[in-house]
Symmetry: D2
Subunit: 362 residues, 4 copies
């Protein structure tokens, strides 16, 4: 980046205010890293979005190829380019879809260039640098951590509105936390086991034994037993919610992930040992109170199949008490690529730019 002086001095920490931006026309957005599943879907959603202007899609491996050639179904007629940040054009926002460690430096450059960023990687999800480095290795830009807000829209809407960097959550934490938040806030979680399953798209555009149809088909594949990186992310988010509920202790989450042979869909089964007995009536009340005004969270009365939310930004949550074991079961279903990743990024962009949260998503 040759020219950070280009960034107008009047911009706030978060970049231009939304009012300023719209006075100048639609906010201009780029996708950095549009060759993977997450970036490509974000491009699709922003291309058809009525209020954002998608001005560029970048990708290191397929430069020059059109995105609608790489992903015909997404119909985005833009050519993949390299990330060039010293152009003269205005840049209001960016979605960064790089692997962790590669993302943070790009986020930094985009911030310098004045863009507000939704980062899909893990680089800014954990507020504790120590926890990050324990699970992911050295952090390339720890100086930026303080500017980042965790982007689970339903939990942090207010901070997201003014944030310069929004750390889009992992798909598993999204489903898990939406399922657990009402219980946590009510001080009901004494212990929790999460068993999550998702479709093969969750493995991304990796070409290997976990994604080959003759290997990934006709199987149920557990992975990363007792060592999944989403564990600390869930715990770090759960802690303040539990504290709101009066908890003074910590809960060590046991999280287990699986791949199952479908494309898009994710279910998190949360098995909660409660601090006291609860029944279905109390659960219904708690969950409805938490979500009745949420546009994208639906409390349902029967166990949700992931197909019900495929290709949408919805999360369907079902909670039930098991009088036999005394535990509570919460089932939370999302589309791992949509609410779990790319459509939640757009939901966050809507919030960041003062648009209706559902714009371009229904």
């Amino acid at each position: 980046m040759s020219c950070v002086a280009d960034v107008p001095a009047t911009r706030s920490a978060a970049g231009a205010s939304a009012a300023q931006v719209f006075a100048e026309g639609s906010p201009r957005v780029i996708i950095a890293g549009a060759t993977g599943f997450a970036g490509a879907l974000a491009a699709h959603l922003l291309w058809r979005h009525p209020r954002f202007e998608l001005v560029a899609v970048t990708g290191r491996s397929e430069v020059g190829r059109r995105l609608d050639d790489l992903y015909p179904r997404y119909r985005v007629p833009l050519q993949l380019s390299e990330l060039e940040l010293d152009s003269d054009g205005q840049l209001d926002a960016a979605v960064v879809a790089y692997p962790h460690a590669a993302a943070a430096p790009a986020v930094g450059e985009l911030r310098d260039r004045g863009a507000r960023v939704v980062d899909l990687s893990a680089d800014f999800r954990l507020s504790s640098l120590q926890t990050y480095e324990q699970w992911y290795g050295k952090h390339p830009r720890p100086d930026l951590l303080a500017d980042a807000v965790y982007g689970l829209t339903e939990l942090h809407r207010d901070q997201i509105a003014g944030a310069g960097i929004v750390a889009n959550p992992g798909c598993y934490p999204t489903a898990s936390l939406l399922g657990l938040a009402p219980l946590a806030r009510a001080g009901l979680i004494a212990d929790v086991v999460i068993d999550a399953k998702q479709g093969i798209s969750g493995a991304g555009r990796a070409f290997d034994e976990t994604t080959h149809q003759s290997m990934a088909g006709e199987t149920i594949l557990p992975y990363k037993v007792a060592e999944h990186r989403h564990t600390p992310e869930i715990e770090e988010q759960l802690a303040p919610l539990r504290a709101q509920g009066g908890a003074t202790d910590e809960v060590a989450v046991l999280f287990q992930a699986h791949l199952v042979p479908l494309d898009q869909g994710e279910l998190a089964d949360c098995y909660v040992t409660t601090t006291r007995r609860v029944d279905d009536a109390e659960l219904a009340e708690l969950f409805l109170a938490a979500y009745e005004h949420e546009p994208f969270v639906e409390v349902v009365g029967s166990p949700p199949g992931t197909r019900e939310v495929q290709g949408t930004n919805f999360c369907r949550v079902f909670a039930k008490a098991d009088p036999h074991s005394g535990k509570v079961v919460v089932l939370s279903a999302i589309d791992n690529l949509w609410k779990g990743t790319s459509s939640q990024a757009v939901q966050n962009l809507n919030v960041m730019f003062g648009l209706p949260e559902t714009e371009g998503l229904t």
Copy 2:
């Protein structure tokens, strides 16, 4: 049954002894209820079995149709007939694949006729009549309960050898109990949550919304939350194993089932709160000690995908301690139609007739 006098008086309670039977040639077996997935696969396995003679396949709904027309891939060239028990021919064994409540009367008649029976229904799985009637309704033949042995071969091999009625376990209890038995016997289970997933064949030959490819495909479907009938079956079997390990209390199992879009395959994830801390070394020792001589249980060193055991009688078990939460995760993978149902029935028949346990199964 007009003619129980046909049954030779010299037969033991379990029917003819194996030695007697083989002296007269291969044991003659029928499948009662061969139109469903379980009965059809049992027919396939017994038709190609080197030591049994499959003499009839019955089915109420498709009488007159050949089984290899209904199930081309199983290649059993027998015509489906009605169950006729007063024929003069010798009948040494039967596999009954009827729904619960319909099975018990048929089992009774077959016993009267001198056959040793493997029953695939739930009718004889629970030794407690009270528990049965709480979950399944009135039992049609409680008088026969005392003659039945629970047919999880690895746990009850000795009793199965002499049994007149073997109650073939449910597929979920098969996977779960093989995963939990070593921990139970070591007195290590303080609490357990089981999250199980299986392919669509687990729903049987039912034609409805849970099996239609356009509804069952591309989804993960949780069902029977906090009310699955396999819960008491697992608990009843777990109790004596835990008692062996010195436990004096009871454990209330939380069991949750799911359908995922594949044909055959089942994984049970068992999340165990242990009575004391254990590490991977101790787990390895425990599981190897339990299964090193078992022909069909494999203790593996990485998380097993169900594809590894598809179309086989094998169960693959993987156990890992999670130092973070203090719990133990046991993953147990089977083919729900094979080890979970029909090939375990054949394994039991082998044991009942004094054959090598692996005969016809490898």
Copy 3:
């Protein structure tokens, strides 16, 4: 229908003119038969359509159930009702999704009630009564045949605009005819074999051996060999196109259908023996000339996978000469439920009501 006098006398044969209708607000539409896949998707598309008002969804088997309970992913919050045509409310249009023979009487009643109808059944697809009765049996309302227009939008747009009854094409004829029309009009088709494949949704909401995931999965299933009812439909439409190209003979089409294990998608491979040698350059020119202004037909430069058009109203066509055999191969890919059925119905409604053809479809 007690009360045909309700129908305003001033309405044209096709019912109210579009201008009239919009003066009174959005056209009011019902779906008759919304429990099946086709009707449900039509309901979804019309519910979210910016210019039509979906006022009722009917279904004989699920009356009282909400459509978003039956099809959660379609999110149409209407309750299924019985078809009641003597209500006082205005009714401008209807989509009828009944089986053949059941559809025609309902279409007649809806016409009497003043509605313009898109019929998804075969009842009005064949203009020859004789051909209809040879393939489908007695026609319940032959008197209405003269009012019906064949609803392949790209071929009959002008007549559709003023039609009272639009016979929505079969999915196979849609793909096949869009692939063959340019060749037919150029007088190039001497003979044609069509090999078509589609996903399981093509079998509809039938619960049987062709749709059960454990039977329909992992197979390729040919059906109706040399006897598919779409054959005469394709031939009847092909004849005038060939006549435009100067053909004076008839072509007997050989059409073969298959089910393959996916949900939505259809490919028609058309193998054309040409009346003279053609090369790729001439094919490119022909197909581009035919479709360059069509909003929903895309001539592509590489063989199209059906995934490229899944969930859209697009048809992708690819044509290639085979110098070795002298034949021409045309591949035509659609989503069988969208362009093959329900979105084409909406495309037709757009044309019938003078709306932009793409309204509500992109």
Copy 4:
């Protein structure tokens, strides 16, 4: 190969006679190239074969890894090694599963070493060097072509029995030729179009966009339009069969391939323009006469789904006249990895070593 003098002088051109070999124990076989799907399945079949001894499996990319680690379901407990041909041990046969051009040199070395070889590549399928080089490029060992026999067992059984090199057919030619042979021999084929579909395993262990579950799932993918290399293979085999039927002309086959989302299964639809009208009775007679004594070809009375033959060496053939178009449709279903590749290799080995043809295959 340092040491061709090791090869016993007394061996015939085809290597040791079968009688000689069995006098010395089971024939010793290796698989060269067992990391791919074809080689791995051949290893599985030969490992469990009662009459062959599988002594080594080789693979350039996974040396040292156990085959049952790479392919758990095949349960072959051998370690992958490099191909070492100068060992002292006896080597009676080899299956070579290398890509074309890489295969021929290995086949040559194995022949020098005294082994009889089944080659799964295309290197010896075409007897015409000119045709080979037109489609595949330069042939590395044209000197060996004269020793090779085309290994479609049902057509060339006698020559296979004495052959040194058996060129295992492509999977598409296997299905197509078994479907067409009876018509060809009867002089009935004037013209033919073949539309073939197979599961993703047909793409092999390639990790790319054609095999990734999120791309290969939910699609029907045509490929290699008017340029598939199996075209000349089918034509070269069809020519002598047609000549037997009196044909003096040549037929240019139009062959089209597709990938559909299943694992193993293949269907070839053959659309035959006949030299004269034939009806179903004549077809039935022709096909039964051709195949009634064949152990692995089944003439069936209804359209075969590929699931019926999955995991078997069977081919199911169905023929039907279409009086409307005057053509004949032949449907031929196989498992592309079994009869289409690896189990046919074993069938050929059985023939080569004088064993019952079905040995180890049922």
